[in-house]
């Protein structure tokens, strides 16, 4: 539920007293598994007939990696320090511009730097601007902080179109990652090589951010979030805590931006724009700002919708928006919050009893989602799709959106599914409450 939920159990006396090699190994293996899985994943999309990786899959996975860094760095402010920023992308984008200019300078022979360290330059750029903007923004908190970051976001976005030299105007700054200098003798001319670099940097950045939560600064960021006044009376200046946290978060956002520059070989105005900031916010909320890995989960969902669904539908952004609203309304703890809520029932050993109730609500849920998607797609087809000269299909069956049938079908599925869901939800809630009461009675709530 909170950033410390994950630390509550294991970090007790045994671990803090003896961080021996056994404890280290136990904590290291999930990371190793994740890294290996990330490296194996693209092979699922490998085309064995042509012996080529799927460019689409690699780009999407790279995007997940760099956006996860970005979303987690956003959560260093929001989840950890309680600072809601509407302009976080400026730190990401400016890091990206710094990285792009650096690669161009290396390519031109003006300086020496291996490609592997370019994300670090992005990070330092992010840190520099984090210090600069943090100095202004972190004097305030809550609403005032949100407003200042919004203003800074607009300011940088406006600058991006004004200062051609650094931002390259509308066209952005193009660059070339094949700069010929590498620590490992890799050219980075293929997406697979780039993806490996992204995985490495994502692992480093996520690990460092994770460790940062366990430092005095990270803890005091939580403390000032919970009760900034009390923090003062234990000797901490909450402004200084916010400032340091903001600047560090800029460092990590900049690493994400640096990777962006390497992956796409162009950094444009979009990277500093408000929509980019909103993406971090969406990912953090959908995944759950309260747990460390929430924004990572959220990023996977958002990028899949963005890259996957956008291939099939013009309305992907609408789906992200609806998902966001549904999450904020019904699961403010995000996906990790939903998972965490099941923990007591799992500890009581009765998770299995939820399978049937889940199936019973997922069925009508799927109906209403189908109805909703059908209606949205019909609407979007009549306005955009038709102009693109495509045919409208439900599964393999082509239907004419000009007739009443598909519209009625969509409405029926949406309304019928919704009513059915309401009915089933009652039974589900009763089952859930009973299991929770049992968990409470067994004393396994925490």
């Amino acid at each position: 539920m909170s950033a410390d939920a994950t630390q509550r159990a294991p970090q007790g006396r045994t671990l803090s007293a003896a961080p021996g090699s056994a404890g280290l190994a136990r904590r290291a293996w999930p990371w190793l598994v994740a890294i290996v899985a990330a490296l194996l994943l693209p092979w699922l999309f490998f085309d064995w007939s042509t012996h080529r990786h799927s460019g689409f899959a690699l780009t999407m996975l790279s995007e997940i990696g760099l956006m996860a860094i970005f979303a987690l760095s956003f959560n260093m402010q929001m989840g950890q320090a309680g600072l809601l920023s509407f302009g976080h992308a400026i730190l990401f984008g400016l890091g990206g511009y710094c990285a792009a200019h650096t690669m161009n300078a290396v390519k031109a022979g003006a300086m020496w730097l291996p490609v592997e360290l370019v994300p670090l330059v992005g990070g330092l750029g992010g840190l520099l601007f984090g210090v600069l903007f943090g100095y202004v923004a972190t004097k305030q908190r809550a609403t005032a902080f949100a407003m200042i970051t919004m203003g800074l976001g607009e300011l940088v976005a406006a600058c991006a179109l004004m200062f051609m030299g650094f931002f390259g105007g509308e066209g952005g700054i193009s660059t070339d990652r094949v700069i010929g200098i590498s620590l490992f003798g890799v050219s980075y001319s293929s997406s697979w090589q780039v993806y490996c670099l992204v995985v490495a940097w994502t692992a480093i950045a996520v690990l460092l951010m994770r460790l940062q939560t366990q430092t005095p600064l990270g803890r005091m960021a939580n403390a000032t979030r919970d009760n900034f006044e009390r923090a003062q009376f234990v000797g901490y200046d909450p402004r200084m805590v916010r400032f340091c946290q903001f600047a560090l978060s800029g460092f990590f956002a900049g690493i994400g931006g640096g990777l962006y520059a390497i992956v796409y070989e162009i950094v444009t105005f979009d990277t500093v724009a408000a929509a980019k900031s909103a993406t971090a916010l969406l990912a953090a909320y959908i995944g759950g700002a309260g747990g460390f890995f929430g924004p990572f989960l959220g990023t996977i969902v958002v990028v899949l919708l963005q890259s996957g669904v956008s291939l099939l539908s013009n309305a992907w952004l609408l789906y992200v928006g609806v998902l966001f609203i549904v999450m904020v309304m019904y699961a403010p703890g995000g996906l990790v919050g939903i998972i965490a809520q099941h923990a007591p029932i799992a500890r009581a050993g009765r998770l299995r009893e939820l399978i049937v109730p889940y199936v019973r609500i997922l069925l009508p849920g799927a109906f209403s989602v189908f109805g909703f998607v059908l209606l949205v797609e019909l609407a979007s087809f009549t306005t955009i799709g038709a102009a693109q000269g495509k045919a409208f299909k439900i599964g393999p069956q082509a239907v004419d959106p000009a007739t009443a049938f598909p519209w009625l079908l969509g409405a029926a599925a949406l309304i019928g599914g919704g009513l059915w869901l309401r009915l089933e939800a009652r039974g589900f809630r009763a089952r859930w409450d009973a299991l929770m009461a049992d968990a409470k009675a067994k004393g396994v709530m925490l």
Partner: protein, 249 residues
Amino acid sequence: MSNAISLRGVTKSFGRTEIIRGVDLDIPHGQRHAMIGPNGAGKTTLFNLISGRFSLTSGTIELNGRSIDGLAPHEINRLGLSRSFQITSIFPRLTVFENIRCGLLWARGYRYSFWHLLGGQRALNEEADRLIERLNLEDRRNVPAGLLSYAEQRALEVGITVAGGAEIILLDEPTAGMSHSETEYAVALIRAVTEGKTLLIVEHDMSVVFGLADVITVLVYGEVIASDVPARIRGDKAVQEAYLGTEAA
């Protein structure tokens, strides 16, 4: 220099109303000093002035002979003054252990470090655990502080305050709302952790006050009407009229 806390002509007004009306008070090092007075007398306001939460309207406050004029609360804390709150003020989403450790961090020199991993700071963690044991909260060590019972939160509040080992400790009604046995335990604890330190405590429970304090100050309507050893406060006519009389009745 021999006074830990020294107030001269301290006044505080909120708008037109003057809440603190010219308080002079000297608390020597190592003294346990209790402040009593009816509700709304301005005891908490005085605490807020001494700890830097409010700024003075006029007068001076010195800690160890140093004026605290214009200092922020965290700067005053770093001079060696720590306070608790009448209305419980803890870090609700952090565990009991984390709460206590937050009370220790600055005092142990960790500052804004992002290069120390707290899990590996053995001395620090053991110190926090020792205090948790003394607070009788070891069963609740890993529970978010917001989920504690009221009495437990009050104990934690005192714990956060004394964790860093500040030389001057201000406690604002630490036992309010506790049961009789809890109060007894808390008083013993307060006595132990403030050994050799300067304590200023606001308390309504007269048995606590008379049992604990070396000197008692009576504050009524923002003015000190008496400040003396307990025996003489008990016999003071003005005090009985203004305060103790109503309390005893």
